[in-house]
Symmetry: D2
Subunit: 353 residues, 4 copies
């Protein structure tokens, strides 16, 4: 860390700061410049307390961290991209995976119909929310346990691994009886208790970026998962909140490029929540592929105008089929391979095609 | 809601939209304009499904909600400001309350010393975190149960009611054995499971605004509490995340004015987290009083430069004393009364001075 | 426009609003709902004064505009994409154009070297700033007239049309003696005087999006150009300012998709200013192609670490060559054709290859 | 500046960076840490080229500036607050000044009526726009020269010094024949050509903060004025653009506190543009006083619901009178004095009461 002193510090001021730096476990190096004096503090910042408390001293103007605060998910520490295995599906390798399905589980008929349609179009995982975090308490909150039972039957029927969102710790046990991947939504991206509990299940986790989360904070949320023993983490960029309201959020594809540079985790993109409107989803999906994403998560509904939630951003089956077709030339340009269709799983461990 | 159609819709397009509006339980009124045709949908939007799903129809350009989505916390519905009672303290009335204390509970000596100092300076509630949601898993996470036990002893000693943060549902029971007010932090402002569980405790709740939460969404989070039977809610503005990084967050005092206009809840301000630096806290506290806030929450530490967390924004005892002194003329200007010092509570229900 | 009244308005309140709506030239249609009463005002909003002033009335809660405020640049009004012709170069057609060159003109040697390198790599226009708007008055402000003379010689030598930024009206005359395209930078995106003056030159304009400009406001800035007789406008997305500071700005590719849906103007992307760091530029360029952009503007410098401005985001000649190579498969996937190399222009009107 | 190297740099990498630092005129000090190696570059950053170009080197991870980039407007360099004299009015001293008047000049009758009303209520300067920068080219653009002539007559009649906005360089000469203070609006806050031209007039300048301008960039815009010989600068906070749209902008009172700490310029607040709605203006004015602002700029219109621009945020004469009354206790609390009513100026130099 760099401790920047206020202009023209006295010698005793400098000595005091140096002593405090030493007490906190770092080695101080003082450099007196033309205008500013700084004390560079040498030591591993992830293993010691931060020096930011020194900013409170009258002779200190600011404290600037130098080092990155994440370790386990950092490509610097472990350069190889982690591969996340979900049943027969491997994310983070050359194959590009599309997760598709409705925002909410509404009925078995609905899920089965959409699951078949997205499987036929090339999706390899099925998404569907049984527990829905909704901004208004008067909005549809999901079918809960009944939703999970529907997902289980549809999974048995179609062989598609299931991605479903966790909204609290107490439902995790029942969730992972069905979900192959636990989704942590944007609203819970900094709910560290939930992250720790999700990590302890050992189940792969899709970690959405919080709507006001910096890339560093997002990777630190991933670090919470890794530090609690679960490196089966897929990052998901879903747009950040900005002044622009023509789209629901602002898709930040630079964050995808950066997250892949900085971390060793697979990164996917959710263009549906980013745009909040169906007519931008296909073009943004193409852009995500070109930016280097490892997969997509797309909302699809048989009749979006009747959906119980987020109707305006869901694609019809036909629009999704066209999106998948349109994606192919970009996948080839990006050197991505097509994943095999998921095998149907009869019992845990046994599979058939 | 207003359904805006794409230009020059056919008659059958208009009929189709009107039918869908009717099916969703609203009464359609179509108005053909020079440029745009709109279908105004009449019906209570908090009791029916939103029409936003219609935005997915090809002949619909957008759907504009008219009505506010919160009801119980709306001043329109209930014009009287709710008073929140915490022991002998009443928030939301003419008295202005200052909650003060360290970011984290570190030791009994520390808390007791700060509790006495802030009580002497005029604070009427004590804050202190036993469970700390920290951005990095390598940062100090709070003393947990040991922290709660310290808070209990200091509360018995000083009579100050305790404000402490909940970070998950499972610790709520032990938290409310000590905390008189449950704080929901900015990171959990949209953790609806936690809000519902906190509501069910019946304990007053301080609801911080999420760092990217609109005022409407903040009031909807409060509505979650009220709808689950707990109207003992205090809103707390603590700064939002913007492009400006000279301050940790951007304190939004307009939100205080608006929240007081729109809702019937007391509103307080946390200038410490907003600024993220101690040298702005006093001036922002004065501004909060003048904007009409009902109270303040301020971080105070005996030795901020040794604090285990958030040192750079904590005030020394002496700085807090000066802040409280400086606040008095503004409190008089705002017509605020000085609350009595809290009585010491011997047993639940019994008190002595 | 929709005028939303406060709850339970009296009949005379409603009559008063209707009268005011009529006086402002609109036809009122009142709809009394369960909760809200609205007055829909029918009339062309681009030809009359806005009704937003009515929001000041005590019985009015808010006024919601329905209609888009741009007309000439709207695809609704004129569905065909405008083609912008710059010498032998046509933007907005099937060919994809890359504008490349240094941030600032520093010397003839520098510009000539970079111009040759980017031409060889496939760029079809040369960028270079003679007038530089810099955040600090102590930073390099550009070579001014001397810079323009350098650009003219390099243009004669290489045949590359020149893109250069205007920072005020008084230099426009000398600028257009050399520049084939006038660039309006992000800082001047809402400098309407400069827009009008630039429009009157008749020269094509690249209009960068302001760093806090909504898409609607950006199109309205373009409308200023079109309304002043110049429809030779190319929109350029260059990132918006958000809370994320790991990148200089946040590239908003949704804005590219939306601007192409909403307007009839070509849209290009400047990934260099968006990212502010060279290591993201290639991936973001690929993403821009996939999102449907019509071109790119990329900063290239022979020795970025010696650049007089914006060094950290400029690519070396070699990095640019690799970027152009990497772009080809994505251009094919997007169905884009390769433009012919620009012909050298001997005199105005005469050309040779 | 601090140059942070990538992990484990070779000795020759370090030597190369040190050489480049020296070539750019700084003295390098290398510190090898446990994790990171840094090269601290000693030298005055406002007198040399920035080292940020070094970020482009492969062995450099980032470059962190330490020093502030403004000098003349910095309180560090000149601790005394500048007093800005406008006729008989002095801003930046103990007296608190309120600038009031309509958004746009519409007619002599309108301006005269409002000027008398605001003077009677205690305002000491009159605002009114003759040149209006409007987001849409179809909106009212101001009366131009005719507006200036009206302002001149009203100034002679009432003695109120005039604040009016400049939107380009070519109208500056006619503007300063009438305006005692040149206002630079938020849209032109980074239009450095206009800033330089405004500085050269020698007339006091009110510099509004750009809607996405950091505090540092705002002070650098002020530095442009000071560096061009004009230190008669008043900073004006008017809200920044954030995700929150319930208010037109987000008033950033922390920026007022910080600008007064960091710079030696008077700082005023424009709550009208910040809020964009009249019902928040009074409370935000009180808050601005308490935060330490030196004045206010408030939009007032005889009949806001008939205003040619920005009607929804303008106060009626009566509402302004009440605001001024309500402000008094807060001005007393802040230790502010009441300025004398401006004297009527007969000719330049001669005055009468």
């Amino acid at each position: 860390m760099i401790v920047v002193l206020t202009p023209h510090p006295s010698t005793s001021d400098v000595r005091y700061v140096e002593r405090r730096v030493r007490e906190l476990g770092y080695k101080p190096h003082t450099i007196r410049g033309a205008v500013r004096t700084i004390v560079a503090a040498v030591g591993d910042e992830t293993k010691r307390q931060t020096l930011e408390v020194l900013a409170t001293l009258p002779m200190v103007e600011k404290v600037i961290p130098i080092q990155k605060r994440y370790r386990l998910v950092s490509r610097e520490v472990e350069p190889q991209t982690y591969r996340v295995r979900v049943g027969s599906v491997v994310m983070g390798g050359p194959a590009f995976h599309v997760i598709a399905g409705p925002c909410s589980v509404e009925s078995e008929r609905q899920i089965l119909s959409t699951a078949r349609a997205v499987r036929a179009a090339g999706a390899t995982l099925l998404r569907g929310g049984a527990f829905k975090p909704r901004t208004s308490p008067y909005d549809f909150q999901g079918l809960g346990g009944a939703g999970l039972r529907i997902l289980r039957r549809v999974k048995e029927e179609t062989g598609l691994p299931i991605v479903s969102e966790a909204v609290n710790e107490k439902d995790l046990d029942s969730l992972i009886e069905v979900a192959d991947v636990i989704q942590i939504g944007a609203r819970n991206a900094m709910n560290y208790s939930l992250l720790e509990a999700a990590a302890r299940t050992g189940r792969p986790v899709i970690l959405k970026r919080g709507m006001a989360q910096t890339i560093e904070e997002w990777l630190l949320s991933a670090e919470y998962l890794a530090k609690n023993g679960n490196h089966q983490v897929i990052l998901c960029e879903r747009g950040i909140r900005t002044f622009e309201r023509a789209t629901r959020n602002t898709l930040d594809l630079s964050a995808v490029v950066l997250a892949k540079l900085e971390s060793n985790l697979p990164v996917i993109v959710d263009p549906s929540h980013a745009a909040g409107r169906h007519d931008l989803v296909a073009a943004l999906s193409n852009a995500a592929v070109a930016a280097g994403a490892d997969g997509l998560m797309i909302e699809v509904h048989e009749h979006p105008e009747q959906a119980a939630s987020d109707g305006s951003q869901q694609l019809t089956h036909e629009a999704f089929r066209r999106l998948m077709q349109g994606l192919q030339p970009f996948l080839r340009a990006a050197g991505r391979t097509k994943p095999p269709a998921p095998r149907r799983v009869l019992h845990r461990g046994k599979t058939r095609r």
